[in-house]
């Protein structure tokens, strides 16, 4: 009870009243909200309902009881409600603030407290520890342990969705590979731009191949690339889970790592990270010194697909063996970074690719950071709808632009037992096209 009062006070002190009032309750957000739809049209699981609940707590109309908390927790944070909002309410910011207030005043069970501490404070902010963890996974995958565990069916002790998650993890790089990361790469063609690359925490360990493919493409497109080694995790995970203070610390470290570099852009290849980076100015808005520095940082953030299109990468006649391809938007890439056309343009430019738009490609896949681990039921319900739309397109390649979405699509493929369908990151497919095109051209060169 005491906690509820504290939370209520914090709501009154910290929630942006203008933003709350800005919601005119027109309901235009409802049809875009996955949890509203999947909960069987429950207003309490819609953006309008959640804003009304936040406002009611501020107004003292209701207490922040467990139903209120449940409503805020079940939100995917996909922010599909924002582009359709006539008033331009920044729902994501409201949600982040509310979740932070609740998380900071909540008494978690000792085990949850321990896990949160490890994940948010001991693991993600420390690149070396991320590499160590990934190396452990690598050991598990390569030593024969994985095969043994699977054979003995030991994974059955895990909840179903976690057991399946184990299956779809990518083959991770070795300790050595992770420790030999470049800090500077030169363009392979005429230099057109100088960019910095945000390598991320998970992306530079578990998804290192995707990072390598990204840099390769940037090189081909004519970019000199700087990869400052002092950069760190973007803090999205922290920000979305009510650990805003930690997110701010990480943000400052990243701004410091990049601001002295003389670059045209800071390139990202994960919608989730990019969207968080691009809102550092909001995150640090109350800090007069950092707010300005954040603004110049934010102005340079661009997704790799945008840079590639800007540099005309899609005009170079890439080819792939014939296949049907569909694209699953990364919610944060689309709704926050406003990047939706470029990935499609790049895919459509590859000859041999038949691009088929799936219905509701802009609806969340249910991955949503760590949502699929903490809210498996809703996440899988959202995923099942997504996979039904994928199947309609008859695509054999599902392309995404964010690691979380990629894993979720792989999980979807596994759940549906689709043996002839694969999921790849956009840059991987593009690199595949580059290689396929080169191979096809080589004999011509030899004879000619």
């Amino acid at each position: 009870m005491k906690n509820e009062q504290l939370i209520q006070q914090q709501f009154q002190a910290r929630m942006n009243e203008d933003e709350l009032l800005n919601c005119m309750r027109c309901g235009f957000c409802l049809p875009t909200c996955p949890t509203y739809i999947e909960s069987g049209f429950q207003e309490s699981h819609s953006p309008r309902g959640r804003i009304a609940l936040m406002k009611a707590v501020v107004d003292g109309l209701i207490e922040p009881d467990e139903d209120v908390e449940r409503s805020l927790q079940l939100c995917l944070g996909c922010r599909a409600c924002e582009p359709v909002c006539p008033s331009g309410v920044r729902y994501g910011h409201l949600l982040e603030e509310a979740r932070d207030i609740i998380a900071q005043h909540k008494t978690y069970s000792p085990i949850v407290r321990f896990i949160r501490h490890i994940v948010f404070k001991q693991l993600f902010p420390h690149p070396k520890r991320m590499r160590m963890l990934t190396a452990l996974i690598g050991f598990y995958q390569r030593s024969g342990l994985q095969a043994l565990v699977r054979k003995l069916g030991l994974l059955r002790v895990l909840p179903n969705h976690l057991a399946m998650m184990e299956k779809v993890l990518p083959n991770v790089p070795t300790w050595k590979q992770m420790n030999e990361r470049p800090t500077h790469i030169e363009a392979e063609t005429k230099r057109k731009k100088r960019v910095a690359f945000f390598s991320g925490c998970l992306m530079d360990t578990m998804f290192m191949d995707t990072n390598d493919a990204t840099m390769k493409l940037l090189q081909l497109a004519g970019c000199d690339i700087v990869i400052p080694p002092t950069q760190t995790c973007c803090g999205a995970l922290h920000g979305h889970s009510g650990e805003k203070a930690d997110a701010k610390t990480l943000a400052k470290q990243n701004i410091e790592a990049f601001e002295a570099l003389d670059v045209d852009y800071i390139v990202t290849n994960a919608g989730g990270c990019g969207a968080f980076l691009i809102e550092y100015d909001h995150l640090l808005k109350d800090d007069p010194i950092w707010a300005e520095r954040a603004k110049s940082f934010v102005a340079k953030i661009k997704d790799v697909s945008v840079i590639l299109v800007e540099l005309g990468f899609h005009l170079e006649g890439w080819r792939l063996p014939e296949q049907i391809v569909t694209y699953q938007d990364s919610c944060h890439l689309r709704n926050v970074m406003k990047t939706a056309n470029e990935p499609r343009l790049l895919l459509q430019s590859i000859s041999g690719v038949e691009f088929r738009e799936m219905k509701d490609a802009d609806r969340c896949c249910g991955s949503a950071g760590i949502y699929n681990i903490i809210e498996p039921d809703m996440s899988m319900q959202v995923l099942d709808y997504k996979m039904a739309q994928v199947k309609q397109t008859k695509a054999t390649t599902i392309v995404t632009a964010n690691p979380g979405c990629l894993l979720q699509m792989k999980l979807g493929i596994e759940r549906e037992g689709l043996t002839n369908v694969r999921a790849v990151h956009l840059v991987e497919l593009l690199l595949e096209a580059v290689e396929a095109t080169k191979e096809a051209n080589e004999p011509v060169k030899q004879t000619g």
Binding site: L21, N22, M24, G27, P31, S44, L53, D67
Partner: protein, 470 residues
């Protein structure tokens, strides 16, 4: 108040999972899209079929518990705000399209069907359901029928009322009645179908509806005409109709709206023009082309400074952007957006717009007007802030003047949003004492205990008329 015993009865009918009296559960059904109205219901109930609705109503009637049937809560007259408590009935389980009858050209639906889902389902069969309220992506058919919703296509195709052929209604005593049928001609008794359309949930609960469909028009074209004076735009509207052309869409934006829209979307709209008309026609290709040519000529004759006909669908979409962005652009100006729908005969549009601008000046408030010029249905919209009590009071006064002016010009206080709580104090201006008395007689006959959406339509007291002319 719902006693423990009544609660048990409700749960027995719908199951515990469809009865919600938690604080959060009630809070999220305490409002609709109307600014400044909020009131908690005592419980929210989601019945699964007509029989359950009937049983719920019987209990409510016995215990005098108010009932508010609610679609998606997008209405703008506080019609679904449970101002007197009681229960809110939601139709999340009753949301199926029951039948598309291609021989009789009808569709039969449950009230919870989303309007756009219905439109898409019938369009897949080459059929057309024209009513298209701006909220159609989320509004429900049940809500549309109860509010008699309009839309952009109202001029040529009419409004929801013109498409409702038959209804299943649960009355306040729990009786289930069926009105109308799949019939073009039917004079068996009073036309109860029409009575229930637009009754705002005050006479009964609609649990099923059969709607009329028409064949899908073959093609559609779009154009935009710009004017240096309001009169010229208004004259164009009249001249188009006088030339016996009924376009599908004839939308209007005034200068204040244009300026706001342009600063929001930056699509190169001239902000020095006084008015813009967005005109669309659909039908057989030859007819559409002939009409578009004629309308372009008429607009030029009436001194449009520019007439632009879209050559491609993409261009058409761009032209529609201006009109479509109007609400967003206005809503972003200030925290509160008050969107009204005073309506006048088509011939009075110019007078009405001029009057609105004068009234805005008089009270020193910002009012932008856009709307459906073809059918005289205007949307004077005021961006304001509910926290600014002084301004809010002036806004209220301005709208009172606007309602009075609309009636003076032979119009009405609301064209498509409904009366609800918001317009109830002004209803008598439009209907007169005798008109209100006649409606109240109907209300009392069908709902003697006043449980059906009480406090709506009929006000406790009428506003003093500001302008006494007619």
């Amino acid at each position: 108040m719902i006693t423990e015993q009544v609660k048990r009865q409700f749960i027995q009918i719908v199951g515990a999972e469809n009865y919600d009296d938690s604080k959060a559960g009630r809070l999220v059904y305490s409002y609709d899209a109307t600014p400044n109205f909020q009131s908690l219901p005592d419980a929210v109930i989601a019945p699964r079929n007509t029989k359950e609705v009937s049983e719920i109503v019987k209990i409510c009637n016995e215990h005098r518990i108010p009932i508010v049937p609610r679609g998606s809560g997008t209405n703008l007259c506080a019609g679904t705000c449970p101002t007197e408590g009681g229960i809110v009935i939601i139709f999340k389980h009753m949301n199926r399209i029951l039948e598309i009858d291609e021989e009789n050209l009808t569709v039969t639906v449950q009230p919870g069907v989303i309007t756009l889902d219905l439109i898409q389902a019938v369009e897949a069969k080459g059929l057309f359901y024209p009513p298209d309220p701006s909220s159609m992506k989320i509004s429900t058919i049940g809500g549309n029928i109860n509010e008699n919703s309009g839309g952009l296509r109202g001029l040529k195709y009419g409004v929801t009322r013109d498409y409702v052929m038959a209804l299943e209604v649960v009355l306040a005593n729990g009786d289930i009645i069926r009105t109308g049928g799949k019939l073009a001609k039917d004079v068996a008794g009073y036309d109860l179908t029409r009575l229930f359309v637009g009754s705002e949930g005050t006479l009964g609960i609609i649990t099923e509806a059969t709607l009329k469909l028409i064949p899908m028009p073959e093609t559609k074209k779009t154009m935009l005409a710009l004017y240096e004076d309001l009169e010229a735009a208004a004259r164009s509207v009249s001249a188009i109709i006088a030339n016996k052309i009924i376009p599908t869409t004839l939308e209007f934006l005034d200068q204040p709206t244009l300026q706001v829209v342009e600063s929001f979307v930056n699509i190169g709209l001239p902000t020095d023009v006084k008015a813009v008309l967005l005109i669309e026609q659909d039908g057989p290709k030859e007819v559409v082309e002939r009409d578009m040519k004629a309308m372009a000529r008429i607009c030029r004759e009436q001194h449009a400074i520019s007439v632009q006909v879209a050559k491609t669908e993409e261009e058409a979409n761009n032209l529609r952007t201006a009109r479509r962005s109007a609400l967003s652009a206005l809503a972003r100006l200030k925290p509160t957006t008050i969107l009204e729908d005073a309506t006048v005969p088509r011939s009075q549009i110019a007078n009405m717009v001029k009057a609105i601008n004068d009234i805005a000046k008089k009270y020193n408030v910002n009012i932008c007007t856009f709307g459906h010029a073809g059918d005289g249905n205007l949307h004077p919209t005021c961006p304001t802030d509910v926290r600014d009590k002084d301004e809010l009071h002036r806004v209220e006064q301005a709208f009172e003047d606007i309602f009075a002016k609309a009636i003076e010009l032979g119009g009405t206080i609301t064209g498509e949003h409904g009366v609800g709580v918001m317009k109830a104090p002004y209803l008598e201006w439009k209907l007169g004492k005798e008109g209100i008395a006649a409606m109240q007689a109907i209300k009392r006959a069908l709902d003697p205990n006043n449980i059906m959406n009480p406090g709506k339509v009929f006000a406790k007291s009428t506003r003093k008329r500001v302008v006494v002319t007619r």
